[in-house]
């Protein structure tokens, strides 16, 4: 991490630009929780939780998994 940063604009241009096809994965946890048809139901219940509640709580894990995945996959490309 302590490597010297490029100081000239020309050198800076060679830096990774955040562009990666993996970034498209980020749309999944944005779109899925916004479709009530997936979760707006009582059954099946898990540990007493209606689907509406346990599935939406599970989406938090989906969000974490995708952001972590994208971070790890794009980190390699972006490494200087």
């Amino acid at each position: 991490m302590a490597t010297p940063e490029p100081q000239t604009p020309a050198a800076a241009k060679t830096r990774a630009k955040d562009k990666s096809p993996w970034n498209w994965l980020l749309f999944v946890p944005v779109v899925v929780p916004l479709i009530p048809a997936f979760y707006n139901s009582d059954s099946p219940r898990v540990l007493g939780f209606p689907r509406f509640y346990w599935l939406q709580l599970a989406y938090i894990l989906l969000g974490v998994a995708v952001t972590t995945l994208v971070y790890q996959l794009t980190k390699k490309r972006g490494d200087r």
């Binding site: 929780p33 009582d42 952001t67």
Partner: protein, 554 residues
């Protein structure tokens, strides 16, 4: 009576005093060479690492009011109140890349506020002023609402009085202490206190969601009790599931709130205080831990139903204050020492965001009004001084709102705040990606979005009020033959975008002069250690990159 709550009051007071002491000590924590600079006082040295940022932003976004109001909403309406969960799920993947760009360009140019960015990007002091004023107006009632969170707790402990002043005295004292240490320590104070606050909240909530279901007969029983209550109520739109009328409202409210969250100045302050892009990206995966917490807290609303909690009476006769259901639930179900800890968690939970919000509002005033219009040659030390004083004024204003006005007024304003802050989306969030919009078109779009949003909110009625009854706008008002509702802010920002796009095309065709762009494409990828620019010296960017040198050393 308060005499029944001596244990709770003692623990509450002891923990409150502990964090107050921490707030004052914080000025020496990660001590800067020179506190008289906005980067130090207002952004904690722009040098917070992953853990501090996690606690700081977590403590900033998930406020005491959220912890009180979301279960209150679930208690009253059921599934609709659970929108907080999809809201805080979609937010992080959505802003994952956006915030990195904002951090980079702000690092490069020394921006402290979103309006600083808009001013340079669109070369338009007017647009920047609009963004700054929108931010201040949206933030002020939010600060006042933190007081509502503390009041819910104080009321349950029986700390009330006959006269308005006596009733509010504890809050006035609490805010005076908060104002004093924020004045002295700046953003370092809430950052340090956030450690205590969040630890308390996690412990309390995890204990509650493990113990209460056991005591109340299991989760199945809790949901069944809620289902039975909503089935018996006359309101057609409550229930433990959504119905055909409020699904669109649920989705647009979650999405619109997510779009708005990181436009709030206090969220941006937390982001800009982090050390580098990596800290932000890792936090986008770590912050959802708070969303789990929020989801569990929301369910406390159902537990209150199952435990047959009766909310305390409201400010006016004949009303009930649903915001008291969580404090009352704890009071009924737990030993008093634990209730004291829980109350302290809510109370301290109000201080962290209140401090950050007042700093953010003060920074907006200083950078985009004071320095822009009142004192163009202000030195960094004068800027820091102005910001510190403004933070005091902001807090006095928030207390005055609660003491002299009906708290309902602050709740209305906060509802409006979410809608109006969304109107800065095209300039701030889309502005990070494209300079295509014409600055005049952005101003027109902002005006249309604001007007439409306010009109829509005014039209919403609720069973108890004829105007400002909520954010669920009935679509039949637009002439649709339906009973569906939609989030007013979502419609307003769509109109804003439509106007901004159409007018940009017109203005470009007519070749109306548009300002320049003082940022370069490369600025949006700068990282820790990259040199700062000083070319737009009128903005008072550091000529000597001392903070950058400090960042490398740390």
């Amino acid at each position: 009576m308060w005499r029944d709550h001596v244990t709770e009051i003692s623990i509450f007071t002891a923990l409150f005093l502990l964090v107050s002491a921490m707030g004052f000590v914080a000025s020496r924590w990660r001590a800067p060479k020179d506190m008289a600079h906005l980067d130090e006082w207002g952004l904690g040295g722009r040098n917070f690492g992953g853990w501090i940022t996690w606690f700081l932003i977590g403590g900033d976004l998930y406020t005491a009011y959220t912890f009180v109001a979301v279960p209150a909403l679930v208690f009253g309406a059921g599934a609709m109140g659970f929108f907080a969960v999809p809201y805080t799920v979609v937010i992080y993947p959505m802003v994952f890349l956006v915030l990195c760009r904002l951090w980079s360009v702000s690092h490069r140019h020394g921006f402290v506020t979103p309006a600083d960015f808009v001013r340079s990007r669109f070369d338009s002091p007017v647009l920047a002023l609009l963004v700054a004023i929108t931010g201040i107006v949206a933030t002020m009632p939010y600060i006042a609402l933190q007081l509502v969170g503390i009041e819910a707790v104080l009321k349950t402990m029986g700390v009330t009085g006959e006269s308005s002043l006596a009733r509010h005295l504890p809050i006035i004292i609490a805010f005076a202490i908060l104002a004093a240490y924020t004045y002295q320590s700046g953003l370092r104070a809430p950052a340090l206190i956030a450690f205590v606050k969040d630890t308390l909240i996690y412990v309390v909530i995890l204990a509650a969601v493990l113990y209460l279901p056991y005591k109340l007969g299991g989760w199945g029983e809790i949901f069944d009790a809620a289902d039975a209550k909503f089935a018996a109520s006359p309101n057609p739109n409550d229930g433990i599931l959504l119905n055909a009328n409020n699904q669109v409202q649920y989705v647009t409210l979650a999405f619109g709130s997510a779009l708005a969250l990181f436009l709030y100045p206090h969220s941006i302050t937390g982001v800009l205080a982090s050390r580098n892009r990596d800290v932000i990206k890792r936090n986008m995966s770590a912050l959802p831990a708070y969303s789990v917490l929020l989801g569990l807290i929301a369910l406390l609303g159902f537990m209150a139903i199952a435990a047959d909690v009766q909310p305390l009476p409201g400010a006016t006769a004949g009303t009930v204050d649903n915001n008291t259901i969580v404090p009352v639930l704890f009071d009924q179900q737990f030993p008093s020492w634990f209730t004291g800890v829980a109350y302290a968690a809510i109370g301290i939970g109000a201080l962290v965001p209140a401090a950050i919000m007042s700093i953010a509002a003060a920074n907006l005033f200083t950078r985009n009004i004071y320095k822009e219009y009142l004192r163009r040659d202000a030195t960094p030390a004068q800027e820091a001084k102005a910001s510190k004083l403004t933070s005091l004024v902001v807090k006095i204003g928030a207390v005055a709102c609660i003491v002299f006005l009906d708290p309902q007024f602050s709740i209305d304003l906060q509802l409006i705040g979410g809608v109006i802050i969304l109107q800065t989306l095209p300039a701030v969030a889309l502005g990070l990606y494209t300079r295509w919009f014409h600055r005049g078109a952005l101003i027109a779009g902002w005006a249309v979005g604001m007007s439409l949003g306010m009109w829509m909110l005014y039209q919403v009625s609720s069973p108890t009020r004829s105007h400002f009854g909520g954010s669920a706008f009935p679509l039949e008002r637009f002439g649709f033959d339906t009973t569906m509702t939609i989030y007013a802010g979502f419609v307003a920002v769509l109109a804003n975008l439509l106007v901004a796009t159409a007018l940009t095309l017109v203005l470009r065709t007519a070749q109306v002069a548009d300002g320049g762009d003082r940022t370069s494409p490369d600025d949006y990828f700068a990282d820790e250690g990259d040199p700062r620019v000083s070319r737009d010296d009128r903005r008072g960017v550091d000529p000597a990159p001392e903070s950058v040198a400090g960042a490398n050393a740390g």
